[in-house]
C-alpha cells in the first residue's frame, strides 16, 4: 500500500500552529483566574458592607448607639437595644491580652532558635512549631474547655468561663504563628550585623538587645500584629471558653463575649432579615473593617523595615 505523508498531519508542523494558539488561550485562562481573585475580594467586601449597613439604613438603628451603648438586648419586646460596646471591648481585650502573653514568648523563642541554639532549633523546635500552626482551633477550644476552665474555677475563682480563659486559649493558639514569623524575621537579618557587633566586643545579650532586636523590630511587630489579627477573628475556640454573656466584664475572671462569639451563637437561630439578624451582620462588618485595619498596620510596618 502506498502511503503519502501529508505535511499537515506531521507532528512538528501541526504543533507549531497549535502552540501559538495555545499561548493566547493560556494567557487568557491564567488572566481570568487572576480576575476571579479580584472579583471574589470585591464581592465579599461589597456584599458584607451592604448587608452590614442594613440595620442602620433599613431598620434605622443609630450607628453611634450601636458602637457606644452597653445594653444588648435584641429580643426584648418593649425596648430592644443594640449596644455592641461590650462585645467590641471583649474582642479587643482578649486580642491585646493574648498578644501580651504570646509576644514575649514567641519572640523569645525565635531568638532562642536563631541566636542561642540554631542547630537544635532548626532541627526540632521549628518543625514542631510549624506543626502546631496547623492544629485546628476547635481542638484548642476543646482543651480549654476540659482543662483550663475547671482549673481556673478551682484555683483562680469565678465560673471558669472568663476573659482569662479566652485570653490563655488564644495566646497558646497564636503563639506558633508569632514564633514562626518572628523566627523568619530574625533569621533573615544579615550575618554581618552579628559579626560586626561581636567584633566590637559585645556580648551575645548586648548584640541581641542593641543590634538585632532594633534591626528586626518592624518585622517582629508584624509577627505580633498577624497573631493579633488571628486572635481577633477567631470564633469557636473563644466561644467555647469565654462564657458568652451580654454584660460588660468587670474583672478578668468575669465571663464576657466577643464579636465573633455573638455572631456564632445567634446567627443560626435568628430570622434572616430581621432587625436582630441584621445587627449581627453589622457586627460582622466591624470584623471585616478590623481585618482591613490590621492589613494597613502590617503594610505600614513592612514599609518601615530597615534591613
Amino acid at each position: 500500500m502506498e502511503k503519502t505523508l501529508n505535511l499537515k498531519d506531521h507532528r512538528l508542523v501541526k504543533k507549531r500552529n497549535k502552540k501559538l494558539n495555545g499561548g493566547v488561550r493560556g494567557k487568557w485562562i491564567v488572566s481570568i483566574s487572576a480576575f476571579i481573585i479580584i472579583g471574589l475580594t470585591l464581592a465579599i467586601t461589597i456584599f458584607l458592607t451592604i448587608k452590614g449597613l442594613q440595620s442602620f439604613i433599613k431598620n434605622g438603628l443609630s450607628p453611634i448607639e450601636f458602637l457606644t451603648s452597653l445594653e444588648w438586648n435584641p429580643t426584648s419586646k418593649d425596648d430592644p437595644s443594640f449596644g455592641a460596646l461590650p462585645f467590641i471591648f471583649g474582642s479587643f481585650a482578649v486580642t491585646f491580652l493574648s498578644a501580651l502573653i504570646a509576644a514575649p514568648l514567641g519572640i523569645g523563642g525565635a531568638i532562642f532558635m536563631t541566636e542561642i541554639a540554631p542547630k537544635w532549633g532548626r532541627k526540632f523546635l521549628r518543625p514542631a512549631i510549624e506543626l502546631l500552626v496547623g492544629i485546628p482551633s476547635v481542638v484548642y477550644g476543646f482543651i480549654g474547655l476540659t482543662l483550663l476552665v475547671p482549673f481556673i474555677r478551682e484555683h483562680v475563682g469565678g465560673l471558669g468561663f472568663s476573659l482569662l480563659s479566652g485570653t490563655i486559649v488564644l495566646s497558646i493558639m497564636i503563639l506558633p504563628t508569632v514564633t514562626s514569623i518572628a523566627t523568619d524575621a530574625m533569621s533573615s537579618l544579615p550575618n554581618s550585623l552579628r559579626e560586626g557587633s561581636y567584633a566590637l566586643g559585645a556580648t551575645r545579650w548586648q548584640t541581641i538587645r542593641k543590634v538585632l532586636i532594633p534591626a528586626a523590630f518592624p518585622s517582629l511587630l508584624t509577627a505580633v500584629v498577624l497573631g493579633m489579627a488571628r486572635a481577633f477573628g477567631e470564633a469557636l475556640a473563644v466561644q467555647m471558653v469565654i462564657g458568652n454573656v451580654r454584660n460588660f466584664p468587670e474583672s478578668i475572671i468575669d465571663p464576657a463575649a466577643t464579636l465573633t462569639t455573638i455572631i456564632t451563637l445567634n446567627m443560626g437561630h435568628t430570622t434572616y432579615g430581621s432587625l436582630e439578624n441584621n445587627s449581627l451582620w453589622s457586627l460582622g462588618l466591624i470584623l471585616l473593617m478590623m481585618s482591613f485595619i490590621f492589613i494597613l498596620v502590617i503594610r505600614y510596618l513592612s514599609s518601615r523595615r530597615k534591613v
Binding site: 479580584i38 512549631i129 485546628p136 470564633a235 469557636l236 492589613i295
Partner: protein, 295 residues
C-alpha cells in the same frame, strides 16, 4: 551590672522561654493523643453519631470532612495554580499587580467566620440551596485560594531561571515553556503546599457552621447515585464535618458522653493534620530526589 553576668542571665531567660514553649507543645500533643487514643476503636469510626444517646461514632462526620476537602481541593488547586502562574509569569509590576496582591492579602487575612457569613449570604440564602456540602466547599475554597496562589507562585519562582531561559532560547513559546518546564519543576512545591493546605482545610470549622450546617441526614453508603437524598455523594445535602462536630457536641451538650466523643474526634483531627504534614514532607523529599537525583 556586670555585662558578662547580664549575658548569662539573658541566656538563661531565653532557654527558659524555649523550655516553656517546648513543654507546652509536648503537653498539648500528648494530652490530645493520649486522651483520644483510648476512645479510638473500629466502632467509633464505623457507627453514625447520636444526638441524644451515648456511644455515637463519627462515621458520617469523617466522610463529610474528606468529601468537602476533596471538593474544595478540586476547585482551588487548578484556580490557585493558574493564579500562581499569572503572578509569577504574566503579572507586570504596576498598579494592577499591586491590587491583585492586596486582594490576595485581604482574602488570606479574613477571619474564617466572616467567610462563613459571606457563604451564608451567597451560597445559602441567595441561591436558596440551604445548608449544603457544595456551599461549604465553596466557602472553604475562598479560604484556600489565597494559600494555593501563594504556594504555586513561590514554587514557580523557585524553578531555576536558567531552565526557563534555555527553553525560551530554543524557540519554545512562553506558554509552552510554562507547561513543559516550569510546571513540572514546580510540581513538588505545589504538591507539598497543597497537602499542607489540606490539613488547614480539614480542621476548619467556623466557615462551615453557616454553610454546610450542623446536621447530617441519614446516609445510605450503598447508594451511589449522587442525586439521591440519602446518598453520601449528594452535594446538595447538609453535612456536619468532624471539626464542626467537636464544637457542636460541646456547645449543645445533649449527649452524655460529650468529652469521650469530643476527645476521640480531636485525636482523629490532630492525627490527620499530623499525617498530612508528615506526608507532605515525605512526598516533597521523594519527588525532589526523583527529579534532581540529589541524595
Amino acid at each position: 551590672m556586670n555585662r558578662k553576668l547580664a549575658n548569662l542571665l539573658a541566656t538563661g531567660m531565653f532557654v527558659t522561654i524555649a523550655m516553656i514553649i517546648v513543654s507546652l507543645l509536648v503537653a498539648l500533643f500528648s494530652y490530645i493523643v493520649v486522651q483520644g487514643f483510648q476512645k479510638l476503636n473500629i466502632e467509633f469510626f464505623t457507627s453514625p453519631s447520636s444526638n441524644i444517646r451515648a456511644g455515637g461514632g463519627i462515621r458520617d462526620q469523617l466522610f463529610n470532612s474528606f468529601y468537602i476537602l476533596f471538593l474544595t481541593m478540586i476547585m482551588t488547586v487548578p484556580l490557585g495554580v493558574l493564579g500562581g502562574i499569572y503572578m509569577a509569569e504574566y503579572a507586570k509590576p504596576g498598579k494592577l499587580t499591586n491590587f491583585i496582591r492586596s486582594c490576595i492579602e485581604v482574602l488570606s487575612s479574613l477571619p474564617s467566620i466572616v467567610i462563613g457569613m459571606f457563604g451564608l449570604l451567597v451560597f445559602v440564602n441567595t441561591t436558596g440551596w440551604g445548608y449544603t456540602i457544595i456551599g461549604g466547599a465553596l466557602a472553604l475554597s475562598i479560604f484556600n485560594i489565597p494559600i494555593m496562589v501563594r504556594v504555586s507562585e513561590d514554587a514557580i519562582r523557585s524553578v531555576p531561571r536558567e531552565l526557563k531561559e534555555a527553553s525560551l532560547s530554543l524557540g519554545v513559546t512562553h506558554w509552552h515553556t510554562i507547561k513543559t518546564i516550569l510546571l513540572p519543576g514546580a510540581f513538588p512545591g505545589i504538591l507539598t503546599g497543597a497537602i499542607l493546605a489540606s490539613g488547614r482545610v480539614f480542621g476548619e470549622a467556623a466557615a462551615l457552621l453557616f454553610t454546610s450546617g450542623l446536621s447530617t441526614p441519614r446516609l445510605d453508603y450503598m447508594n451511589w447515585n449522587p442525586f439521591s437524598e440519602t446518598s453520601p455523594l449528594n452535594i446538595f445535602r447538609p453535612a456536619e464535618t468532624l471539626a464542626v462536630h467537636i464544637w457542636s457536641v460541646n456547645t449543645q451538650g445533649l449527649i452524655p458522653d460529650v468529652s469521650e466523643v469530643a476527645s476521640g474526634a480531636s485525636a482523629v483531627l490532630v492525627i490527620s493534620v499530623l499525617l498530612f504534614n508528615l506526608f507532605a514532607r515525605w512526598i516533597g523529599n521523594v519527588i525532589h530526589q526523583r527529579l534532581t537525583a540529589v541524595r
